[in-house]
């Protein structure tokens, strides 16, 4: 862009330096499939030499996400886990990570089964308990790993407090910002060093692409992540980079709609006699409601709730008609997941139960359907389950 703009976030989603192609004016970024680029001289290589190192389409997404997170550099990966794995490559043998205990199952698996074999230690803590976090610090602690809200219990971590703590011991703060996206929360502005995304989720939002991203705002970290992205090579394909860019254009409108629906659904569930507990940071009785309000502009579109039994969960899944019963989240379609057997299946049952991820917990990612339809669907399912159980008692 020729002029310095101070556009609001919603406008920035659509109007950025890639809004049109400089050569022909195309308003959608072209997909550059070339894996390699012609060089004109041995002494002076062009900006692009090989597709893994840099690709113009991937770069467009990388600059867009960096800009949205208010960081300086963005990096795109072939999945959220590829982004997380690459970020962990910053560590060396003998380093230690303090990590939130109800972390995504895939990250849990990476830390416990891969990093541990390469001599990188970890301690799981309740990140909402600053005393516990402080106690977990060791002389070799190099990273504090935060998911907020956490998955699947939607606990909210005070990003600034953790970042300050990390800085005081010379460690980095990684924040997985998948659930809220920069539309609602910008961890770099709260002191975090590395922002991670499964761009498969809300950023793309259409259940049609798997992608990951890292954003940083420090030149030295940027250099290191850039080096690792190129060396490891878990980069995002160009077609997929384009699909993510396409999804991002509607990020704000999708988020706004889904958040409103999520709150309505959370209220409905909380008032329903068959629902034991609702986890949603947008509810005023959520334990970290205040922090959530302070550090973000919304509670997001993911909530979890507990039914009375595992049997009730099974029936609920079979009886509901609208949400797809599947893994993943952050899509135009509402997605109902069963963490015990899906997102957190990689976590041993005793660890799951200790963290409160029970066998009767369901996670709902609220999509773009009309919330009244979802509430009607859920209400009917819960009624049928209650009637059935009552029938059994009478018999």
């Amino acid at each position: 862009m020729t002029r310095e703009h101070n556009f609001s976030f919603e406008t920035k989603l659509l109007h950025n330096e890639h809004k049109y192609d400089p050569t022909n004016g195309a308003v959608s970024v072209p997909i550059q499939h070339a894996s390699t680029f012609h060089q004109h001289s041995v002494d002076e290589f062009g900006k692009y030499d090989y597709g893994r190192s840099a690709n113009p389409t991937r770069e467009a997404f990388e600059t867009v996400i960096a800009n949205l997170e208010e960081g300086t550099n963005g990096y795109a990966f072939s999945s959220g886990m590829a982004a997380i794995s690459t970020a962990f490559l910053l560590l060396s043998q003998g380093d230690h990570v303090v990590i939130t205990e109800d972390v995504y199952g895939g990250t849990y698996r990476m830390v416990t089964e891969v990093l541990s074999r390469f001599g990188i230690e970890h301690t799981f803590v309740d990140m909402t308990d600053l005393t516990a976090v402080k106690q977990a610090i060791r002389p070799n602690t190099k990273v504090f790993y935060v998911e907020t809200p956490s998955n699947p219990l939607l606990k909210v971590t005070d990003i600034r407090a953790i970042s300050d703590l990390a800085k005081s011991v010379g460690a980095l703060t990684f924040v997985d910002n998948t659930f809220l996206t920069p539309a609602l929360q910008k961890p770099l502005l709260l002191g975090a060093d590395v922002v991670l995304h499964s761009a498969t989720k809300f950023l793309s939002g259409h259940s049609d692409v798997v992608a990951g991203a890292i954003v940083v705002n420090d030149p030295d970290l940027a250099k290191q992540i850039g080096f690792l992205q190129n060396s490891f090579g878990a980069v995002l394909g160009v077609q997929d980079a384009w699909l993510v860019l396409r999804g991002i254009k509607t990020l704000s409108v999708r988020m706004d709609f889904s958040i409103k629906s999520a709150l309505q659904i959370a209220n409905f569930l909380q008032n329903h006699p068959s629902v034991k507990k609702v986890y949603y940071p947008g509810l005023t009785d959520h334990p970290q409601y205040k922090i959530q309000k302070e550090q973000s502009e919304g509670a997001g579109a993911v909530l979890s709730f507990e039914l009375e039994s595992e049997e009730a969960v099974k029936q609920f899944v079979e009886l509901t008609e609208i949400p797809v019963f599947a893994v993943s989240l952050g899509a135009v379609e509402s997605i109902l997941s069963y963490p015990a057997k899906m997102s957190h299946a990689a976590m041993p049952i005793e660890h799951r139960l200790k963290r409160g991820i029970s066998q009767s917990l369901l996670r709902l990612s609220v999509g773009l359907e009309h919330p009244d339809d979802i509430i009607k669907d859920f209400s009917a399912a819960l009624e049928t389950i209650a009637a059935k159980n009552q029938g059994e008692i009478v018999r």
Binding site: H33, A34, S35, T36, F37, H38, Q39, H40, V42, D43, F45, D49, G51, R52, F77, S78, S79, G80, M81, A82, I84, L89, Q93, G106, R109, M110, E113, V114, R117, F118, T200, S207, D208, V209, V210, F227, L228, S231, F232, G233, A234, L236, G237, Q239, D240, L243, V313, K314, V317, E318, V324, F325, A326, V327, S328, A331, I335, Y338, K341, M342
Partner: protein
């Protein structure tokens, strides 16, 4: 049992019964609906398994004679995925003359996690044997090597690996399963930068791994999913599309490379020609280092670019491109000097290629 030429042409055909499509659909869906708890269709989440990716994984496993294939987002992602099955304290023995990207991830990446590598010449098995220690867990070879085009006797190395209970990993990027099937010769894992000959059109970045044996495949499958450096559905489809003409392309690459090798040997401004007699890759040294830049700029048809294995001819300068991450003294000691050029011979008319090379080389001595 069909021949590989037939197999590549048929990849993805008969994969779908509902419509009878001969060209497989690209499945973009990230998630798969389950009928109920515990009722999976076999597909849950795109990173774990995708029907389009599965086709290319099955195809490469079949072509290489392995048990299972894994598609990754780049050749380097494939190598890193394999590295993840090892642990701190393990050692690798690696071809001394090696792709710079592999050298970089070993030296600047996995070294800090406690996995060390010893670099040896692999044409002589006794040299490899001398390097084996109690901690050696794998031998990683490129054959032919990049860029010096030296071949290694895979079978002999495989016997050695078996004797010491070490895994043998072979980078088969340069020859593809059409010319060389390392698993049949005793290797445990084969890897490919599928960006090269398998894709073949310089339009897709991809890596493939093939494992032989239950334990190796289980470990690779676990890390493929947990690290998540997987190949996208569209890129899987592009790779399948490229692989369908692999047999035709390899024949033409090889025919052209043979003729070019003969021509280069006779040219007065060329000192050495390194060509193993098969495949489409060759390297050569020109007489003077100061000629390199002019030579590359004199080329009208052949592209000066990194990468290889595409339909278009490429010339690469290893010193500043593919092998820039290898320290200069190491590079020089193995023969990757500043006069060495690597030629990925394309499928253009060979007379046109010879003409372009000839005029670019001849102008050097007339200018000087």
């Amino acid at each position: 049992m069909y021949k590989n030429e037939t197999k590549v042409a048929q990849i993805g055909n008969r994969s779908e019964t509902q419509t009878g499509t001969v060209n497989p659909p690209v499945y973009f869906s990230t998630a798969y609906r389950h009928e109920g708890i515990g009722q999976s269709t076999g597909f849950d989440y795109i990173r774990t398994g995708n029907p389009t990716r599965k086709l290319v994984e099955a195809a490469i496993a079949d072509l290489e004679g392995g048990d299972q294939g894994f598609a990754c987002s780049s050749g380097m992602a494939a190598i890193t995925t394999i590295l993840a099955i090892f642990e701190s304290g393990d050692e690798w023995i690696v071809s001394r003359d090696l792709y710079g990207g592999t050298y970089r991830i070993l030296e600047q990446g996995f070294k800090k996690w406690g996995l060390s590598s010893t670099y040896v010449q692999t044409h002589d098995v006794s040299i490899i044997e001398q390097a084996i220690t109690e901690k050696t867990k794998a031998i990683f070879i490129e054959t032919p090597t990049n860029p010096l085009m030296e071949e290694t006797d895979i079978q002999a190395v495989a016997e050695l690996a078996k004797k010491y209970n070490i895994l043998l990993i072979v980078d088969n990027t340069f020859y593809t399963p059409l010319l060389q099937r390392p698993i049949e010769l005793g290797a445990d894992i084969v890897i490919h930068s599928a960006t090269k000959y398998l894709g073949g059109h310089n339009d897709v970045l991809a890596g493939l791994i093939v494992g032989k044996g239950k334990e190796v495949c289980e470990q690779l499958g676990f890390h493929h999913n947990s690290i998540g450096a997987v190949l996208s559905p569209f890129d899987s489809w592009l790779l399948i599309r490229g692989m369908k003409t692999l047999a035709l392309r390899m024949k033409q690459h090889e025919t052209n490379a043979r003729e070019l090798a003969s021509f280069l040997k006779t040219h007065e401004n060329v000192v050495d020609v390194l060509y193993p007699g098969r495949g489409g890759m060759l390297s050569f040294r020109i007489k003077k280092e100061e000629w390199v830049n002019s030579f590359l700029q004199n080329l009208n048809l052949i592209t000066f670019a990194e990468s290889l294995g595409g339909v278009e001819s490429f010339i690469t300068y290893p010193a500043t491109q593919t092998h820039a991450d290898i320290p200069e003294e190491v590079r020089f000691s193995i023969g990757v000097c500043n006069r060495l050029l690597r030629f990925s011979v394309g499928i253009e008319d060979v007379e046109d290629l010879i003409k372009d090379i000839d005029q670019a080389l001849t102008r050097l001595s007339s200018e000087a």
